[in-house]
């Protein structure tokens, strides 16, 4: 089966990107190299094609109640122009996906989901739609470019039809139809997956190339570079953000994944609430912790985590070499005991080729404190 292409596919090929199949799309893994691209985002500004992500519009008089029942976070806290990060769960508390919820208006929301989950998510959403809201999977019509890094706002300011300097984190602007490169639908959102300031630009698929070119022109003075999925992973991991399919799956729940802050048991009743309330009361059996290698060794997905007596206490779910720390970093589930989960705890990772010491640390890993 051939992979889907994003609207920017020919750009990536022309830029000499190494392409790889990812979630059914032919995506750029890297252009100049993961470390170079990573540092570009930490120090200047990088551009990511994330058009593979999925978007679903929920419209109707019961849209709010529908969203509130679908996701664990509290949609009542949203106002027009505000977004939130959340997960949606199965009745047993397992995570179906993590997503962003944008409140476009009182009766209209946009849900942004992972590319690998578009079809199962949409099916799940349809199944929960008992009040006949309108659900539209607009994933193929929407292009998405993330501009991330200390110079991201300056870059996007140059091409935005409206001022964005005061746009707060997790706030967005829905642009007037036709006012932004002729897009019928365009959103500038102060969000991202890198731990840097930045914007995510939702636009018409047919206008994505034009906008990408304009962004590179605008960002030239700031050293803008394209950034692939390789650096997207090292950036999110340095920031301690979960990756669906690795750190969170249907086999994990948000409380053990450290996502208790977006699990609002009192928001009115979401799918999975009863089970999660019981887990919260008893305390999760395991917990996702972050850790940094104390000696040579890079943790990798699937590696075993051992305590100081050499007993198996968990598994690595994500790992890489931090380009900022020049050390291995990772996330993994360990038995929920404070001697394993408290920052500073010394654990061991058994990789395919060696065993090495790691120290539990609360992310972000690349910032002190």
């Amino acid at each position: 089966m051939s992979n889907q292409q994003t609207p920017l596919h020919s750009k990536h090929v022309a830029l000499g990107a190494k392409m790889m199949p990812f979630a059914g799309f032919d995506m750029p893994v890297q252009y100049t190299g993961i470390i170079d691209e990573h540092m570009t985002v930490r120090e200047q500004v990088g551009a990511f094609d994330v058009s593979h992500m999925g978007e679903v519009l929920v419209t109707g008089p019961g849209a709010f109640e529908y969203v509130q029942r679908l996701v664990t976070n509290d949609a009542a806290k949203l106002v027009d122009g505000k977004a939130m990060y959340t997960v949606m769960c199965l009745a047993n508390g397992g995570i179906v996906d993590d997503l962003l919820v944008y409140r476009l208006s009182e009766n209209r929301y946009m849900l942004v989901i992972n590319a690998s989950n578009i079809n199962p998510d949409f099916e799940w959403m349809m199944k929960q739609n008992t009040t006949g809201e309108s659900l539209e999977n607009i994933s193929d019509e929407v292009g998405l470019i993330a501009i991330q890094g200390p110079r991201a706002f300056e870059t996007v300011s140059k091409i935005s039809p409206v001022p964005i300097d005061d746009l707060k984190y997790y706030h967005f602007i829905e642009l007037e139809p036709g006012s932004f490169f002729g897009c019928e639908r365009a959103i500038l959102s102060h969000t991202g997956y890198t731990g840097e300031a930045g914007l995510e630009i939702y636009c018409d698929a047919s206008r994505t190339v034009e906008i990408w070119d304009a962004l590179f022109e605008a960002g030239k003075a700031f050293g803008i570079k394209p950034v692939g999925l390789g650096a997207r992973d090292t950036l999110r991991l340095e920031s301690g953000f979960c990756l669906y399919g690795s750190d969170i799956t249907t086999e994990t729940n948000p409380l053990e994944a450290g996502l208790g802050w977006l699990t609002k048991l009192d928001q009115g009743g979401f799918i999975g609430r009863e089970v999660l309330a019981r887990i919260k009361e008893a305390g999760p059996e395991r917990k996702l912790v972050g850790f940094v290698s104390q000696e040579r060794g890079i943790p990798r997905h699937g590696d075993t985590i051992l305590n100081s007596d050499g007993e198996e206490i968990g598994q690595v779910t994500s790992g890489t070499q931090s380009p900022i720390l020049h050390a291995g970093i990772g996330l993994g589930y360990v038995t929920n005991q404070s001697e394993y989960t408290a920052p500073g705890s010394e654990l061991n990772v058994q990789s395919r080729i060696r065993s090495f010491k790691v120290q539990v640390k609360r992310p972000p890993f690349h910032k002190e404190g």
Binding site: G33, I34, R296, I298, R300, Q321, H326, R352
Partner: protein
């Protein structure tokens, strides 16, 4: 992609520069291998001065994304390793056939050289 014609190659994407007089060869990984691995962050040689058989592991190359084991392309002793790789593992990415060499092997059976791949045979393996 560049594959120098004066080198021997293996299926595991290693290259060898053979010196008939001393029966030694310098070993590294190919341009194709470094490009597949991406940014290399450390190289570890575990078997310095040890007598090893062809295909025995002698170390590892660890990149940001993945790790690869290194295997002896011929039987012999790992006489020397490239000390510069300790501080500058990126030499494997930047100059795989020169500054990025990995080890020097003293061959125990020089006839094994004839089992290695020529540049044309290797180019076919690397798919170019």
């Amino acid at each position: 992609m560049e594959f120098p014609s004066d080198l021997y190659y293996t299926q595991d994407h290693e290259w060898l520069r053979y010196d008939q007089e001393t029966e030694t060869c310098m070993v590294g990984i190919t341009e194709f291998a470094q490009s597949e691995l991406g940014d290399i962050v450390f190289v570890e040689i575990d078997e310095l001065d040890n007598d090893l058989a062809k295909d025995d592991p002698f170390g590892t190359v660890e990149a940001v994304k993945t790790v690869a084991e290194l295997f002896m392309p011929v039987s012999g002793t790992v006489q020397e390793m490239n000390e510069s790789l300790e501080d500058s593992p990126e030499l494997l990415n930047n100059d795989p056939y020169g500054e990025g060499w990995i080890i020097m092997i003293k061959l125990s059976d020089p006839s094994e050289i004839s089992q290695l791949l020529s540049v044309d045979e290797y180019a076919a393996v690397a798919g170019s």
